[in-house]
Symmetry: C2
Subunit: 629 residues, 2 copies
């Protein structure tokens, strides 16, 4: 039996390590790219299953690999720096000096310990391709592209027939997922802007991943630092915990003190892309007063974060002066933090947003480090009443214009989306976004399908997220149960992640992703065959599945019992189904069951099979349950 | 400040009583039906809101009314018996004698205490209308019809214009919800079989409700008795707890000992319709061996439960002999308990199902008490792999045939549906059901959008439930987090209920129900105006919303603070929006914002308004959060 994750494993390194139950981290090497090690998780099944391990996508990084030496003080290995250097076009330089205001001007007493290692930053040199988009357009398959192709295929070396049948079974609304993802396909999708590989050249610790609607639907988790950072491990642990439960990217939305140092610790230990909202830090540098913001402080912040290795920036450049009054009659006005900062700035100065006016300059900075744009939806609706209104869609049109500008300047782009949207208004969001933004990947927060359930917004938004993922959203930003109410704790992060992994996987299934249903089928076979441990181990959250089962039937023996607590040992519908199956197998002509002839013989055959209704009568009878009929 | 529900309130009566926070139970009287008291919940808002209380549908029964005297030993008042007697066509009679096997042959020592009051049962007499369907067809509006019309309107006396605008905003997929529900509309919907009012003439305690796709989407909760019934209050409490959180009907899926007595206690204390699966009890009467079932024992069980007042029966008469082999190649075979019982019976005897063959006799029994059919989907899929297969849809065709038979014989009918269905296969389930079953109300379990998350199946199925409710399902059967794993406890029941109230309300919103969005808007206004207590009180689960908020900001003062824990007091996006609003209000010509002219003046105006970014700087700065940008 697999033990649930033991918390004392966390003590060794300061962060949570160790594999999930029955799981091991394996690596495969893409053909033609020796030395690339692409990670997966393999879930071992009980020998009675006579099935190979189930291989699933794994974003958890080396933390779940017992072979990996984890040292938060040293950070993860920076192998990707070699890839970047090998393809050239970059230069190392001294980099921007760290200033007191980068950490919110915090005094020595409260200053968090700096990350012990300093890496000289890289930047692109003029006249050379630098971004994944540059290389894709130049017809060059980068190591990152080969890596993500291998990853999306779950390490398969070729398409298998089963997958091909599967694909026909979805409704992809115009997405065109191939049966088998080649590096060339990845290159092509990146080249046309339909997918991005967020991968700052200074994020050497990165295990590359891809965001696009012809790939697996991804999930982002937001984390934020605490005002008083007593332990940097604690900050790193938030990221490690989120990726343990499947976060494909992590946004660091920290504000306040030690913001630079915290981000450094996170980046140096993160195998997933890290996103930020630079205006948050810029605001700290001007003492929290939006009207004091200007291009110089913003630009300085961009460069600071580019050098650190942030992989994508949320930039609310679509909040234009002329759109702000469109929000005046809303029930909840402007709910985006970045959006309201810019609205305040625009109104106070009565000027067009400097983010909009300086957008080309922003592109030129971000391109030198291959930081991807996540164009923020600063005017997204914060309530059902405000969904799909003029303000929201006016901004979306501008995001489309900015997308083309960024593409022209070699930058990768994705587009952020709402918010709070009732189900019947969800699809038009995707349709409009795809059209306005030339199919740039969509990245949405939920959306929440109703406003009436604070405390359960991982569920209200999980509904919208599953649907919008199905319709074409490439990455879903998770929402925790604490949304609108307070700060998520460790369990909230996990609850949000599981809800969003459900949404993303449901979307993959409905789109007809060729590999998605394999996981469902493996779990359902385990369920049908009473392989209880396999059922737990294949669950998105094995620990909770096991714990719930054990509340009713804690005995070890029950884990092999051919019954469950719903019907108990006296009666079992699954057992009857097995009888049906055995019986059907004896029929040469199934249609004979529809004829009157030979009924007596058939009944006799069935009885002779010794079909047994009662299974293991000696086992303890559990309480009867409230399962549906 | 409202206290969360205090558990000691439960001690007084053995069940949970008392209102939800800031709520009171009110009653209105439908025009033309003096004496009918139709219940609602009114949620009071803070005086600063200057808004009337928010009125919501209330299925919780007298338990949330402090004025009501609750005595589980006496049961609820049986006023509805008068309605039934007044319209005539019924006779009281001695009724079937209770036999030891009705309670699973349990010995005296373990026999649960009988309900103290015995009511003589009523049944219909030949040649008179009896069921709601009979009356509806005869053009007669019953008290039940007037009651549910009032209830669906939330007690409004007339349509209001706002509601009319709202309606245009949904996508109802052919449902046609009126702006205002008249008793005549209810009658018409019942007459054409598109809605049912499950209301056994012997369930005098009932507060009638309606199930149909032109009405609010309803939720059913399943409960089941424990093998050892030490306390009957405990059994009643399961029902009371489920309706407290919004269950519109409750299915008693008990098996084993004391099944008759438990049901009696539940019925005598239930204001909501109670459904059962009679084959479960019939099976108990033949020692749990399906092959020993026959028409006589089944018929005897039907009459037993009809006399007790059960409002609807799940009957798996669509599991025909000829369909059973269609399940042989499934990944999870037959997962319906009733379905597998009948499959076993059919195969063993190699005979057509006696439920199918005796269906007209079943109708004639159920009609005499006005027990509604819930035609069971015994061949529903139990995994993504088995969704929408031949077995499932073959059975659905038969359910259509049975619907017509039941209608011909004066019985009300709804149809049960799956199960496990990926999102892209959900809608066709509704379309086929509406067509095959002549628009009889659809009643679905979930469906689960993926199989990979045991422990979170309230979420996997909440996604499918919201969607299928939107597409036209009239009632959703909840799923708890323990589904597939164990027996739901009290908290699991609540979790399942909240997830399903979210799904049902999201469906109402998306369908364009004229009143649904009022609730969302009221909550969003409270959120925007920082009326924290109103936000909690308007939540589906006020206790959890309050508790989550207090984890971060426990102080009473924070409940009136114009900031929340996400952004803290130094910066607040909602405050900025208020500034935008004030500012926009000063503009005679909003388009002026798009012109260059007068910029300086405008900026000056904005500054003169003394717009303040910093709110209450003295308040404690909470930790910064991980809310999205």
């Amino acid at each position: 039996m697999n033990k649930p994750f033991s918390p004392d494993q966390a003590d060794r390194t300061g962060v949570t390590t160790g594999p999930l139950p029955a799981s091991r981290r394996i690596y495969t090497e893409p053909e033609g790219f020796p030395g690339l090690k692409v990670p997966f998780r393999e879930i071992a099944l009980h020998p009675s299953a006579e099935e190979p391990p189930v291989r699933v996508y794994d974003s958890s990084g080396p933390y779940t690999d017992p072979e990996a030496a984890i040292d938060v003080e040293a950070g993860l290995g920076r192998r990707r720096i070699d890839w970047v250097r090998q393809r050239g076009g970059v230069e190392a330089y001294e980099g921007r000096e760290i200033k007191p205001e980068d950490n919110g001007g915090v005094g020595d007493k409260r200053l968090a310990r700096a990350f012990p290692v300093r890496n000289e930053p890289l930047r692109g040199v003029d006249g050379h391709p630098l971004t994944q988009l540059d290389y894709a357009r130049a017809g060059i398959v980068t190591a990152e592209m080969a890596y993500v192709a291998e990853r999306e295929n779950l390490g398969r070396k070729a398409m298998h027939d089963k997958a091909r049948e599967r694909l026909a079974d979805g409704e992809s609304f115009g997405a065109s997922m191939p049966d088998f993802v080649t590096p060339e396909f990845v290159r092509d999708e990146v080249a046309r802007g339909r997918a991005i590989i967020p991968a700052n050249i200074n994020h050497g610790e990165l295990e590359p991943m891809i965001i696009g609607r012809n790939f697996l639907v991804k999930v982002n988790a937001n984390i934020g630092n605490s005002a008083v950072t007593s332990s940097v491990e604690e900050e790193v642990e938030k990221m490690v915990w989120a990726i343990r439960w499947g976060a494909d990217t992590v946004m660091d939305l920290s504000t306040g003190r030690n913001i630079h140092t915290t981000r450094e610790w996170i980046l140096r230990n993160s195998p997933v892309p890290i996103g930020t909202v630079p205006i948050y830090q810029a605001l700290e540098k001007v003492d929290g007063d939006p009207v004091k913001l200007d291009w110089e402080v913003y630009k300085d912040t961009l460069i600071e974060q580019c050098e650190q290795g942030v992989d994508y920036f949320t930039i609310h450049a679509g909040v234009r002066l002329g759109y702000i009054h469109l929000t005046a009659d809303r029930v909840t006005g402007i709910v985006s933090r970045g959006g309201s900062i810019m609205a305040k700035w625009c109104l106070y100065h009565h000027r067009e947003s400097f983010l909009y006016e300086r957008f080309e300059d922003i592109c030129d900075i971000m391109r030198r480090y291959d930081v991807s744009f996540s164009l923020g939806d600063g005017l997204r609706p914060g309530s059902i009443a405000d969904a799909n209104d003029r303000a929201q869609f006016a901004e979306l049109e501008t995001l489309g214009e900015l997308t083309r500008t960024a593409w022209d300047r070699g930058c990768q782009v994705m587009i952020e989306g709402p918010g709070h949207v009732p189900m019947h208004k969800v699809k038009v969001n995707v349709d409009k976004q795809l059209e306005a933004c030339g199919e740039a990947p969509f990245y949405t927060l939920g959306p929440l399908a109703t406003d009436i359930a604070p405390g359960y917004d991982h569920i209200t938004s999980g509904i919208g997220a599953a649907m919008i993922g199905w319709f074409g959203t490439a990455m879903l930003c998770y929402v925790t149960p604490k949304e609108h109410l307070g700060l998520p704790n460790r369990d909230d992060v996990k609850q949000g992640m599981i809800a969003y992994k459900i949404a993303a996987h449901s979307a993959d299934l409905a789109k007809g992703h060729p590999l998605a249903q394999d996981w469902d089928d493996a779990l359902s076979r385990a369920r049908f065959e009473f392989r209880w441990e396999d059922q737990f181990n294949l669950a998105l959250d094995p620990d909770t599945a096991l714990a719930y089962h054990d509340e009713t039937l804690p005995k070890e023996a029950h884990k092999v019992a051919h019954f469950c607590s719903m019907c108990g040992p006296k009666f079992c519908s699954m057992k009857i189904t097995q009888d049906v199956r055995d019986y059907a197998a004896t029929l040469n002509d199934p249609d004979a069951m529809n004829r009157d002839e030979g009924m007596a013989e058939m009944a006799a055959t069935f009885r002779q099979m010794g079909s047994e209704l009662y299974v293991d009568e000696k086992a303890t009878a559990p309480e009867s349950g409230s399962r549906s009929d």
